[in-house]
């Protein structure tokens, strides 16, 4: 009897210890967002990915996020996550590249994942999506739908991802409409609804009848709707803000990637690498094609399918730069991935000077 009590006590003790111990073994995952979760664009989609992790791997992970973290002042936020026991940290904006690298060197046992950058380390992986594939598709739609042959583009910062997006958009439009022009306005912000709206108004006043955007709020689409013109949502489906204006939207879908990386981490198989997925990898989706005639919709679907199948590359050679010089073709019949990821030139025909 005494033995039994002893055994029971030991078992109870063990159970008592095991309880909190297993709770502590939960993998802590941190996210840094450049905008608010409620931006309904870029950061919103990353947060959807975070929620997908919690749903797909219940009980084993604990996720935290810091929103509205300014890029220039992000190092302490990233370090804060690293110091508080987060073992896998996703930093989800281009400007977090150097700070992430710095913190990664300081915390070799914490794994980092940086979105849209190009610098890696043993414990720092990078990932991005081929948004330019979607931008080529919306460019074609814009080229077909425009009546003024003037397309407006609200841009954020002159970084390669955005520049490649403008080029792909223009090349897409040009492929179906030789007279098309694109006007670019740099808002110098990822998220400032008022300024984005003003940029869209400026473009509309200059005769643009299609508003494309690479900033994160739905404000430009609201302006397109109010002016009775058309546009394309950014990062998430913005149809609610522009039910008559939105033709489609490029949707970022990080869920599958995030779940995969977290699973690798749990299995101890995580390794630093670069991931760059597009239509084929399901990292980029298109919102339903709306407010357009059937033939335009069919064309868009065909283009999307061709890109997905790999038979069409938005940057197929020859690609000419703004001065008309041919860009060296380092890929297989098209620009190489590195050339697209590091794109710092406009293609021929874009009527804007790239800010340096």
């Amino acid at each position: 009897m005494r033995q039994f009590i002893k055994a029971a006590a030991v078992a109870a003790l063990a159970a008592g210890l095991a309880g909190p111990a297993s709770a502590q073994e939960k993998l802590k995952i941190g996210f840094i967002y450049v905008g608010p979760v409620g931006d309904f664009g870029w950061s919103y989609q990353h947060n959807q990915g975070r929620l997908a992790i919690e749903k797909a791997i219940p009980g084993k992970v604990e996720t935290t996020y810091l929103e509205n973290v300014p890029e220039a002042d992000s190092e302490r936020s990233i370090e804060q996550l690293a110091r508080t026991g987060h073992k896998l940290i996703f930093t989800t904006s281009f400007g977090y590249m150097e700070p992430t690298l710095k913190v990664a060197k300081k915390y070799p046992n914490v794994m980092f994942e940086h979105a849209t950058g190009y610098k890696r380390d043993k414990n720092m992986a990078t990932y991005s999506a081929k948004f330019h594939e979607g931008r080529y598709v919306i460019g074609q739609i814009a080229g077909k739908m425009t009546k003024s042959n003037t397309l407006g583009y609200v841009a954020s910062f002159p970084i390669p991802e955005v520049v490649a997006g403008i080029n792909a958009f223009y090349l897409g439009a040009l492929s179906v409409n030789p007279n098309v022009k694109v006007k670019v306005v740099w808002a110098n912000t990822w998220f400032d609804p008022g300024k984005e709206a003003d940029a869209a108004k400026a473009l509309l006043a200059q005769g643009a009848d299609i508003i494309s955007q690479h900033t994160d709020s739905p404000a430009p689409q609201q302006q397109a709707e109010a002016a009775g013109k058309m546009g394309f949502g950014q990062a998430s489906d913005m149809i609610k803000f522009a039910p008559k204006a939105q033709l489609t939207a490029i949707i970022d879908d990080w869920s599958a990637y995030y779940i995969e990386r977290v699973k690798l981490m749990l299995d101890g198989k995580w390794a630093s690498k670069d991931t760059w997925g597009g239509f084929a990898e399901d990292m980029v989706h298109m919102a339903p094609y709306t407010n357009m005639p059937d033939d335009v919709k069919k064309m868009a679907e065909a283009t999307q399918a061709a890109i997905k199948a790999g038979t069409l590359n938005p940057f197929k050679c020859p690609v000419l730069d703004q001065e008309g010089k041919e860009v060296p073709c380092k890929g297989n019949g098209a620009l190489s991935d590195e050339q697209v990821v590091g794109m710092n030139f406009y293609v021929k025909g874009i009527d804007d000077k790239l800010p340096k």
């Binding site: 409620g38 309904f40 407006g152 998220f191 609804p193 400026a202 006043a205 609201q222 609610k240």
Partner: protein
């Protein structure tokens, strides 16, 4: 509508929230209190205004809610700096952080909700005249902002109450010894500032970009603060400054759309550069243009 009219209209829409919030802060600072919490009060105003407008379907109620929210938050600030004589800079910064957080909480259920913008005024026969849209076709908020500006100008320079407010701001000890109710005057000024910030917030979420999103104030509260300094605490200069700051941000966008080469980053920094320049000019110039004498110092009646 010509291109210049389109440009001027966007200048006005960009300047209006700065003008409303800045004029409120000017009155607060004239009474000798520095409230750094404009950004927070604007954000709460924007969130509450949008939430109530969606829930009730009434723009008027939304605006009233925004103004009320601004007043309520500024009352918290007044309690700290007047009631407890707390440090104004710290309290104001805390108010911004509180306001931004609170606005996220209030607005959380309204992310992704769309609303029609408050329509502009249309007067048949006048709005349709050439240039009429500029004078007679603006949003009600624009006329309200001008009314606030000229009302403040009249109040500060022509009314007895305005004189009292200024004397409290210049030297609260002297004002107190004259029997003026320093704390009561400051309370009124702070609440007015809160109401203006709330109204400016409502303008953002109901007119400028009619949706709610956390962080949508995007630093406009800070620009309004800079504006007060830039204007050297004078209403007419503030009116001018609001249109100058609004114009600088908007004109560069139009210049870009028109493919005129313009260093856009430089113009984005314009409000801050202009404020620093104004400070330099002021400190080098005559004393008359300097800040209210008691600005930022707490007042504790010795009794």
């Amino acid at each position: 509508m010509g291109i210049w009219e389109a440009v001027l209209i966007t200048v006005i829409t960009a300047a209006t929230p700065l003008l409303i919030a800045g004029m409120g802060e000017l009155v607060v600072e004239k009474s000798g209190v520095l409230n750094l919490g404009i950004e927070g009060m604007m954000a709460v105003g924007a969130a509450c205004g949008f939430a109530v407008a969606i829930l009730t379907g009434s723009t008027i109620l939304g605006i009233l809610a925004a103004v009320g929210a601004g007043i309520a938050l500024s009352a918290v600030f007044a309690f700290l700096v007047l009631g407890l004589a707390a440090n104004q800079v710290a309290s104001g910064l805390a108010l911004t952080i509180l306001g931004l957080g609170l606005s996220g909480l209030v607005g959380a259920g309204f992310v992704g909700t769309n609303r029609e913008a408050v329509p502009a005024i249309f007067i048949p026969g006048l709005t349709t005249l050439p240039g009429g849209a500029l004078l007679f076709g603006q949003n009600p908020f624009v006329y309200a902002s001008l009314a606030i500006a000229f009302g403040t100008l009249w109040f500060l320079s022509r009314s007895r109450a305005g004189l009292t407010l200024r004397s409290v701001g210049e030297s609260h000890v002297s004002a107190h010894s004259l029997g003026l109710k320093v704390l009561k005057v400051r309370l009124m000024a702070i609440l007015f500032g809160g109401a203006c910030a709330g109204l400016a917030g409502a303008y953002l979420s109901l007119v400028y970009t009619p949706f709610w999103s956390p962080g949508m104030t995007a630093g406009r509260g800070w620009i309004a603060l800079a504006l007060v300094v830039f204007a050297s605490w004078r209403p007419l200069r503030l009116l001018f400054g609001a249109y100058l700051f609004g114009g600088a941000t908007v004109l560069q966008l139009h210049a870009q759309a028109a493919s005129i080469g313009f260093p856009s980053q430089l113009l984005s920094a314009f409000p801050y550069v202009a404020t620093i320049l104004a400070l330099v000019v002021m400190s080098a110039g005559r004393r008359s243009a300097t800040a209210p004498g008691s600005l930022g110092t707490p007042f504790v009646p010795d009794r």
